[in-house]
Amino acid sequence: MKQIALYGKGGIGKSTTSANLSAALSLQGLDILQIGCDPKRDSTRMLMHGSFIPTVMDLVRERGDAEVFKKDVVYTGFNGVRCVEAGGPEPGVGCAGRGIIATFQLLEKFGALTGDVIVYDVLGDVVCGGFAMPMREGYAQEIYLVTSGELMSLYAANNICKAIRRLSQRSKSTCRLAGVICNAKNMPGEEDLVAEFARRVNSSLVQYIPRDRAVQIAEIHKQTVIEYDPASEQAQRYRTLASRVMENTTFTIPIPLEIDELEALALEYLQI
């Protein structure tokens, strides 16, 4: 069983990437479980044809965890991909990180953490211990950073490199950086910048995904690109990503950049 996690800045397109990746992996005949860890709970929406599934945390809040069962939280979406949304507390109240931990423990209790690949879709600009939990506890073993060429999203990616590096020093740690996915904003020089960023943090660019209207059109139809427009070039990019993820054997301990190094890098590549 492969356990991969996509981390990246909020709003960078992790959910779109995760959902299309899961869809593409499922078409390879693999049994896939996707777990969204964002309180926004939109990670699995396109796999579920537009419906928001109930979140584990909402159900636990309403009923208490003794009354929540596997069937209440695990939903089957496109091509048999199983979907879970962790959810979270109301904004500004309680501890969402601890909520993620509790969700995983509940799923483990149900025996639901199974399949050929588990895809964790984790928001990564909040880097308290709770959000590093999937890495820390060995749930997520291969980390993919989703970033564009924008400085803020590279910051977030770089911070996650710091977390992976730190956690990799633990003796029991199995978490490694598996690569960088560029979910582009279509800025000039962006692919080279992200590729260079990946190289400097001791990793590589696994896939470049240009901004493409195909994604928006598919989303209007409440589907992933893989489902809505399988013949499109964009769908092909996600399928290539899926194959590369499955073939990938290069997992590294990243070397995060200093902030000024990161800024200099962005300046060098982006034509302003």
């Binding site: 945390m57 636990v60 809040r61 208490g64 507390p89 309680g94 601890r98 909520g99």
Partner: protein, 346 residues
């Protein structure tokens, strides 16, 4: 080898702010202290206060309740659990309720103040005590005293004195209080309120009417300053310590209370001589510093007493019990000398 831990090895002035605050709030009669956090925060404090009150021949258990936060509350916020705990506390008809926060409640950002502001029918007073926010036992005591003082209005009354920040968990809390009231009474002054030792919420409301305050020790200065700002009451920063210190205390109290002091001072000096004469058999014997640091305030008192009694002070001397805090007043010195005599003649 003495198995008794030396004062140097103890951390009694550290620990959690919650413990310090509880040592104050649980001393308000007919009140309930609700600890907003996991049960553990309440439990070990309950045990400690219970055990201490038994030592002091106190009766009953401290009125402490917990909001009992569990994982669910950590994730979704614990304000509802606090409300539930408060409803229960209110049903027991206390005169007032104190809500003390903890590390967990502060970390998840519960707004305990907002919950307290609801109309509960009795005063519900939040005291900030999250252990991890820094500060130690003493900070908790001071936070609680300052918060409680806000329950009173300024008034004036001549000749009365508040005793501020007694160490409710200390071994000789009653004896020390008695000695300070005796010294005040020889000046014609009397104690208004023991803030806070076994008093009611009505007594708290009286603390605005005193000519001056006496702090238990300089650690309570932040409380002294707070009261000064709020009620305009000046303070003496410490209980009397040592022979000369006790005389000085009388002079300071007389000045603060604007009363004559000469005859009271003369009487006290005579009393001190009488006490020392009673221990003249100790002259010539020698005691050991027993790990006492020269910078400790207890050190100077021990030296003062040994030289007044013509006693020796060296590493080879007898190991006598030395108190953790300087003995209070002439009576405190007398009790210390009784213990020394037992050790020397043992």
């Amino acid at each position: 080898m003495s198995l008794k831990p030396l004062p140097l090895n103890t951390s009694r002035f550290e620990g959690c702010t919650l413990t310090g605050a509880l040592s104050v709030t649980t001393s308000v009669r007919n009140s309930i202290s609700v600890v907003h956090g996991p049960r553990g925060c309440a439990h070990h404090n309950f045990s400690l206060l219970h055990a201490t009150s038994l030592e002091h021949d106190g009766i009953g258990a401290p009125a402490i309740q917990s909001s009992g936060l569990l994982e669910k509350e950590i994730i979704f916020g614990g304000e509802a659990a606090l409300e539930q705990a408060l409803s229960h506390a209110v049903s027991l008809s206390p005169s007032c309720i104190f809500v003390l926060s903890t590390c967990i409640a502060e970390t998840i950002g519960d707004d305990a103040g907002a919950v307290c502001r609801k109309d509960w029918g009795v005063p519900v007073i939040p005291v900030p005590t999250g252990g991890f926010l820094g500060g130690v036992f003493e900070k908790g005591v001071n936070n609680a005293l300052c918060t409680l003082s806000d329950m009173a209005e300024p008034r004036s009354s001549e000749g009365t004195v508040n005793i501020i920040g007694e160490k409710n968990l200390e071994f000789e809390v009653e004896e020390n209080f008695k000695e300070v009231s005796r010294l005040l009474s020889v000046l014609g002054l009397f104690v208004n309120t023991r803030f806070v030792h076994n008093i009611s919420d009505k007594d708290i409301a009286q603390i605005g009417r005193a000519s001056f305050n006496v702090l238990r020790d300089p650690g309570a200065c932040p409380v002294g300053d707070h009261l000064k700002v709020r009620f305009g009451t000046a303070y003496i920063p410490s209980f009397p310590a040592g022979l000369a210190g006790t005389i000085q205390f009388l002079e300071m109290a007389a000045a603060a209370g604007r009363v004559p002091f000469r005859s009271a001072v003369a009487d006290e000096i005579a009393l001190q001589e009488e006490v020392l004469n009673g221990f003249s058999d100790l002259a010539g014997s020698s005691i050991s510093p027993n790990g006492l640091k020269m910078t400790s305030p207890v050190y100077s008192i021990v030296r003062e007493v040994t030289s007044a009694l013509d006693m020796g002070f060296s590493d080879t001397g007898c190991h006598v019990p030395v108190p953790l805090d300087p003995p209070v007043g002439t009576a405190g010195i007398q009790r210390m000398l009784h213990r020394w005599r037992r050790a020397i003649h043992a």
